[in-house]
């Protein structure tokens, strides 16, 4: 069922230099693999090849490289890693674009802002924790039928849709100078919450019913780890694969927090 490639296959090989670590707290090392690539190959298809043929360039038998993947079409966010030093999804990283010539080198490393589980797989639990901290949900009454939700203009829908495409991949956090590795859960509530969560706060504050919790969300954005920790370096917006307008969200929440703090100061609420 798979269509035969009409052009003759251009057999060429690309060298993968992969930063490996057997587990948390274990030493890391580089390992290199030569992988034959077909047109259309991407980093995941090469990691699959390595899993089936885990032999390094110096002829040593090694083990398959651990990595995270799901959709293979850049919509689940699982496969995020550093490729030649740049954070991005590996499934949509086409070898022909990154390493067009025979013998080109691709360097793969795990994200550095999250604890390594093994090899290229990291633990991004803190990223989801930030969504709880933000109360990133609409507080509906329950699942019984109560009619439609609040009406939405197409303009507002487009704004919310864009924000809602965030796939919790963590690229924006990896690139952010203010976001530091925090291994321990006990420190997550005080550490910088990150651009993705600030943007989610905006998403839910924009929703008719979600707005009910706006003040709770802004409370979470005041104080240590909140929006004021952002140094406005704007690295985040440059690496977001979904083109989420993160700096706009940060500015919007920044303004809302200022107003919220003034009101709190005068009303005590």
């Amino acid at each position: 069922m798979v269509p035969p490639t009409t052009e003759a296959l251009q057999a060429r090989s690309v060298r993968f230099r992969i930063k490996r670590q057997d587990g948390p707290g274990r030493p890391w090392r580089w390992e290199s693999f030569d992988v034959p690539v077909e047109p259309g190959a991407n980093v995941i298809s090469c990691l699959q090849w390595i899993a089936a043929n885990p032999r390094t360039v110096d002829g040593r038998d090694s083990s398959p490289v651990a990595y995270d993947a799901g959709c293979l079409e850049e919509v689940c966010g699982a496969c995020t890693m550093l490729i030649n030093g740049q954070v991005r999804q590996s499934c949509s990283c086409l070898i022909d674009q990154y390493a067009p010539k025979d013998g080109d080198v691709m360097r793969l490393e795990p994200m550095s802002k999250f604890p390594v589980v093994r090899d290229l797989m990291v633990d991004r639990q803190r990223l989801f924790h930030a969504l709880t901290r933000t109360k990133a949900w609409v507080p509906i009454d329950g699942t019984y039928h109560l009619g439609p939700g609040p009406q939405d203009t197409p303009q507002r829908q487009q704004v919310r849709y864009k924000l809602s495409e965030c796939m919790s991949c963590g690229c924006c956090l990896e690139a952010c100078p203010q976001y530091k590795l925090e291994e321990h859960e006990s420190r997550w509530d005080k550490a910088f919450i990150g651009a993705h969560a600030i943007s989610q706060a905006r998403l839910f504050n924009e929703h008719g019913t979600g707005n009910v919790l706006a003040s709770d969300r802004l409370d979470a954005m005041i104080g240590p780890g909140g929006v004021s920790d952002c140094g406005n370096a704007q690295n985040c917006v440059k690496v977001c694969p979904k083109d989420i307008p993160l700096t706009e969200s940060i500015a919007a929440i920044g303004r809302a927090v200022t107003i919220h703090s003034i009101r709190k100061f005068f009303t005590g609420k």
Binding site: M1, V2, P3, P4, T6, D22, G23, E38, G40, A41, N42, S45, A51, A52, P54, D61, S63, P64, A66, A69, G70, C71, L72, E73, E74, V75, C76, A78, S92, L94, V117, M121, D123, L131, T132, A136, W137, V138, P139, I140, T143, H145, L146, G147, P148, G149, Q151, D152, T153, P154, Q157, R160, Y161, S164, E165, M167, S168, F204, H207, T209
Partner: protein, 622 residues
């Protein structure tokens, strides 16, 4: 709850709402579940369609007709009536459905219908629905009613037998990072683990969709139904690691499928004038045109390429043309898939027709389940404890892994609906089972039951780790995928299926002598895959054997040696029971409840086309 896709999350919310606490297991963080891939939309009767003569009843009838009458009708009747309410609920949860100028929810056309009844959020509807449910589950989690076990893999159900019979009282699961194996107690277990596309090697599915969880339940005694019904989606882009879907919404929004009228025409498609293009779906199906159901579109594309040799450049591809729709419209309505095509193929669908070919997509078959029909068959009894319960009391199946609703062929945008419906409607049944039917709670059961179940799984894992054979699981997996795709997808025949069974037996033999290149006990993905592969081989046999036994053609199951539908003998569900002694499926047929709409011929108004040939006549391996 095993699985955190749409079905698992919706079920979790409903059961938590009933006041019970839920342990939610998923191989991946639930927000990354396969449901995130769904693109096109979700069906429901709506006010505009109603004023054109559509209603829940038409939605019901289309679903049954689309499914070639193989599904039980009462559950479908109930589901379509819930559909408009489910859309409202999702809307309340904040799903950014596309809007019209007047701020109403926008609608699009989808396969198998002449009415606009598909609600959508760009071309990433599944992502938006999954996120909305994920957010609600996070809310329950923050309140302590839901406990998530992410990166935990379900290995086996824990069954207990007493004088009232056998029932499910928990699961054994493994943390895929630490490799720890543990048994968990539960009053009821819901399997919501999605489809099994990985059995076919490359498919439109995510990498977790191995069907291993369903296969384990089947081997533990749950029945598996209609396994032979695998949907092959007409429009996917072939890739080195997966077939990426180009949603049916592309055709619903006006996309046209064509090939050059001359064989192996090497011209740039943009230089081929209109009268030298063969819009074969529009010609053969003047009424439905490009939005005929998937099984039909797939067979026509297959016929054009494989039998008539009219594929683009002589290969197995046809054009899916969106270039006439305009960039702005495409970005607004189909942005998500346009982006996928641009990223993975490197061409712009607004300028150049896309090149596509069918790919394995969805499993209509799944774990066999029961329901309680209302007396007049118009729907299911609300809250019935057996709603989507398997033949093992206390073990349920929701979502794609459940065989109900879609019969022999699923209509586009009905899957998201059935997943959420299962969770919401049948979740109430699970709660009632726990509150009203279970008499001895699992807390009072002897720990030895759980220890024994965990030990059994540990032994399987130990055997794999200590195996010192030479066969590579990845190689076996690849060969399995190639054979299944060649023998058991668009066209099948007895002889080809029997050949595939032989290949499968060889593969099962080789599986006995595999060796792992990683024998460590930390995040060993090699081990997890090898374990799943063994279960995939078992499920593959169910799929093949069902295909052999069903000597007719119906919906997605097309047999060259039996090209017609045979209601007298096969208006029946194929049910596979695992036979421990022979290690093979034992298949029986069960009647289908067709009491509401009597079966009729399913033609979709087909007429002869200018260069028509008949349906595919021989099995071709490609």
């Amino acid at each position: 709850m095993v699985g955190g896709g749409l079905a698992g999350l919706a079920g979790t919310i409903r059961i938590a709402e009933a006041g019970l606490s839920v342990d939610l297991f998923s191989m991946v963080p639930v927000k990354r579940s396969h449901s995130v891939c769904a693109q096109g939309g979700i069906n429901a009767a709506n006010d505009i369609a109603r004023q054109q003569g559509y209603s829940e009843y038409e939605h019901f009838d289309e679903t049954i007709y689309g499914g070639d009458f193989l599904q039980h009708q009462p559950p479908v009747y109930e589901m379509v009536h819930w559909a408009p309410k489910i859309i409202d609920l999702l809307d309340r949860m904040g799903v950014p459905f596309n809007r019209t100028a007047e701020s109403q929810r926008d609608l699009r056309l989808f396969g198998g219908s002449l009415y606009k009844r598909t609600h959508f959020a760009g071309a990433t509807t599944g992502q938006q629905l999954l996120y909305a449910l994920d957010e609600q589950v996070r809310r329950w989690e923050a309140q302590g009613k839901v406990n998530k076990y992410e990166y935990w893999e379900f290995l086996w159900p824990v069954l207990e037998t007493d004088d009232t019979g056998r029932r499910c009282v928990g699961i054994v699961a493994q943390d895929v990072r630490t490799m720890q194996i543990r048994a968990f107690r539960a009053e009821a277990v819901v399997i919501a683990t999605g489809g099994c596309g990985m059995i076919f090697g490359k498919s439109t599915n995510s990498v977790m969709c191995t069907g291993a969880a369903a296969s384990r339940c089947y081997q533990a005694g749950a029945w598996y139904a209609n396994g032979e019904f695998i949907q092959v989606h007409p429009t996917a882009i072939p890739g080195a690691d997966k077939l990426r879907l180009m949603s049916e919404s592309a055709r619903g929004e006006g996309g046209r499928v064509w090939v050059p009228r001359t064989k192996a025409d090497r011209r740039d498609p943009r230089d081929i004038p209109e009268n030298q293009r063969f819009y074969f779906l529009e010609e053969k199906y003047p009424k439905y045109g490009n939005i005929v159901p998937r099984d039909i579109a797939t067979r026509e594309i297959f016929d054009i390429c494989v039998n008539q040799g009219l594929g683009v450049g002589g290969g197995n591809m046809v054009y899916l043309d969106l270039t006439h729709l305009g960039r702005e419209y495409l970005e607004l309505k189909l942005g998500g898939i346009i982006e996928i095509y641009r990223k993975f193929v490197g061409e712009d669908p607004a300028l150049v027709p896309m090149k596509i070919f069918p790919g394995v997509h969805y499993s209509m078959g799944g774990l066999w389940t029961q329901y309680t029909a209302k007396d007049d068959l118009r729907g299911m009894a609300m809250g019935a404890a057996n709603s989507m319960m398997t033949n093992i009391p206390g073990l349920y199946a929701f979502g794609e892994v459940n065989y109900q609703y879609h019969g022999a062929n699923r209509l586009g945008a009905n899957a998201l609906l059935s997943c959420i419906f299962d969770g919401l409607f049948c979740g109430a049944g699970v709660a009632n089972y726990v509150l009203e039917v279970v008499t001895t709670t699992s807390a009072r059961l002897d720990q030895s039951i759980y220890d024994a179940a965990a030990r059994q799984q540990q032994e399987i894992i130990d055997r794999l780790i200590n195996a010192r054979g030479t066969e590579s699981p990845y190689q076996i997996g690849r060969e399995l995928g190639e054979e299944m795709t060649a023998a058991s997808t668009v066209v099948k025949s007895e002889q080809r299926l029997l050949q595939a069974i032989e290949v499968l037996q060889l593969l099962q033999g080789r599986y006995q002598s595999i060796g792992l290149s990683d024998t460590g006990m930390w995040t060993n993905q090699n081990l997890s895959y090898a374990r799943a592969l063994g279960d995939m081989l078992k499920l593959a046999e169910v799929i093949l054997q069902g295909g052999i036994d069903r000597k007719e053609s119906r919906g997605a199951h097309y047999r060259t040696d039996f090209p017609d539908r045979d209601d007298a003998n096969f208006l029946k569900t194929t049910v596979a029971k695992y036979d421990r002694d022979t290690d093979r499926p034992d298949i029986f047929l069960e009647p289908v409840e067709t009491g509401l709409v009597p079966p009729r011929a399913r033609t979709y108004g087909k007429v002869a086309a200018s260069t028509d040939t008949t349906r595919p006549t021989e099995t071709v391996s490609v």
